[in-house]
């Protein structure tokens, strides 16, 4: 396929009608909370877009992000990969391997200098010179630095790439860090989640292709359109929360009746993601609908925040020992003060006598 071909031409060749294309643009615009009038602009922008070169780096990761995205429903990454973008390098999906794969990455970087997108899943180990994750004999740190140098933007996919994720969990033996810690001077967008929602990924790339810019981001550099509201805000069990009806265990009557999972450690109230509104597997369900509380996987350090099953209102540290020591110290201080008072009284009585 010629790189110079416009996306609109490509889709026409593939038999995709203008109507279907507009429908897709409308869906994407509404998904990203853009005004309806933007759908036409987005469709025009997409039609005029040239194939976007994308280099996908899989660093210290589990491939769950790729699994999630490639198994998604429309608008899916397959649509994007095979119709919209030119995925020049991806360990799991590309046919080439070894030196040929590395050559493909370098060629793409050369030919699309300053224009290509770098998508990263997985965190970057930095301890001991970064030896804990190596690709083609090069550390992740080294490969990332080389690849992002002339990139147009970097998209960190998944919580590991966005915030360090599981590899960064205490005690973080590999010194894992998020992409933002190592990339400077480039726009970096985070699409966290373990795994992230495919619509967020598709929406971000579509926005970039249509308008040439990244969508509006929140303080953690996540697209507001997908991470602007909490799971709790859109949860269908919210009414039970308001009424104070909580499941006490995963198999009690409350759980069967679909009551709120707050007491079972649900992190929905403090987790920003679109799971509750867009849902997974083509809108079939999401974790809370399947009976498990949200674990807050799209938030930084979700693994180290006091346990997945500890309710949000409970403290995160075991204060038993602290209270024990404080009680002993307080009682000793009080006894000491009383003893001093007794001593003073005795000496006063002796003087009076």
């Amino acid at each position: 396929m010629p790189e110079a071909m416009l996306l609109g031409d490509l889709l026409r060749q593939m038999g995709i009608s203008r109507r279907a294309f507009l429908k897709y643009a409308s869906y994407m615009a509404s998904l990203m909370a853009l005004p309806p009038s933007v759908a036409g602009v987005m469709a025009d922008g997409l039609a005029k877009a040239r194939r976007q070169a994308v280099i996908w780096l899989s660093l210290q990761e589990c491939t769950g992000c790729t699994e999630s995205l490639t198994r998604s429903f429309s608008p899916s990454l397959e649509d994007l990969i095979f119709d919209f973008i030119s995925l020049d390098y991806h360990h799991t999906l590309q046919a080439a391997s070894g030196e040929a794969a590395e050559a493909a990455r370098r060629q793409s970087m050369r030919e699309n200098r300053g224009k290509y997108l770098v998508v990263v899943d997985g965190s970057v180990p930095t301890a001991d010179g970064g030896v804990y994750s190596v690709i083609a004999g090069r550390t992740n740190m080294d490969m990332l630095a080389e690849t992002v140098e002339h990139a147009a933007a970097v998209i960190a996919v998944g919580t590991c790439a966005s915030f360090g994720g599981l590899p960064q969990a205490d005690p973080n033996p590999t010194g894992a860090v998020a992409i933002t810690k190592l990339v400077s001077g480039k726009p970096v967008i985070n699409i966290p989640g373990c795994p992230p929602m495919p619509q967020a990924m598709a929406g971000t790339i579509t926005h970039f292709l249509s308008f040439g810019t990244l969508p509006e981001l929140d303080a953690l550099q996540r697209p507001r359109a997908f991470f602007g509201e909490t799971i709790h805000d859109r949860c269908y069990r919210r009414s039970f929360y308001e009424r104070g009806m909580f499941a006490k265990s995963f198999d009690d009557e409350g759980a069967r009746q679909g009551w709120c999972l707050y007491e079972l450690g649900c992190k929905g109230p403090v987790t920003y993601n679109a799971c509750a509104s867009l849902k997974w597997n083509g809108g079939v369900s999401f974790p809370i609908q399947s009976g498990h509380g949200c674990i807050g996987c799209s938030e930084p350090r979700f693994w180290d925040r006091g346990g997945l099953y500890r309710p949000l209102s409970a403290g995160t540290t075991d204060v038993g020992k602290v209270i024990g020591i404080a009680a002993a110290a307080g009682a000793a201080l009080g006894a000491g003060a009383a003893a001093l008072a007794r001593q003073r009284r005795a000496s006063t009585s002796a003087k009076e006598a």
């Binding site: 308001e242 204060v319 404080a326 307080g330 006894a335």
Partner: protein, 219 residues
Amino acid sequence: MELLDFARGTALAIAFAVFVAGTLWRLAGVLLLPRIRDFSPAREGAPPAMLGAVRAVLRRMWPRKEFVQATMFATINSYVFHIGLALVVFGLAPHILFIRNLTGLAWPALPSNLVFGIGVITLAALVGALARRLVHPVLRLLSHTGDYLSWLMTVLPVITGLLATSHLGARYETLLAVHILSVAALLVWFPFGKLMHAVLFAFSRGATGMRFSHRGVNV
């Protein structure tokens, strides 16, 4: 979320340490003081000392009838916010979870909306208590910074709790963090101000009851 992590972790741990150490310090310091012995014989018909103490604690739950009229507002208003605070603290599901995490004890929760309503009434009663303190000429003269600080430390968790429950004014994690921090501030201040009356009232009232019942006086 960083503020919430701090509130749920370090802040609460420090607050509990200060609360427990401070409360026991004051309690032990008072209870272990040398007692002034009363060598006089008890008045005929005087109840045992402990009974006199318990009677005084219970009787003084309501003012003597001579003072009922004069103290009606203060008495009823105080009951409203004391009972309100107890229902909010021990009736809301998230609070019970907090206590369960600390002690292992749990009990059925009240409906959240009901507790929210009680919280609003409690807040109104606390504002009423402050207004009375500011308006009443004698009470105003008697009040010092510590009294206002005790009021503030009590009212802040109520306000922040209402905001957190209704998700009003900021993101939930910020509201929850601020609420937990306000509770931490209350715990830290508790032993050093008049909030300590929650523990000491029974001892001071009981001691008075003991002395007076020994002399045949019902207080």
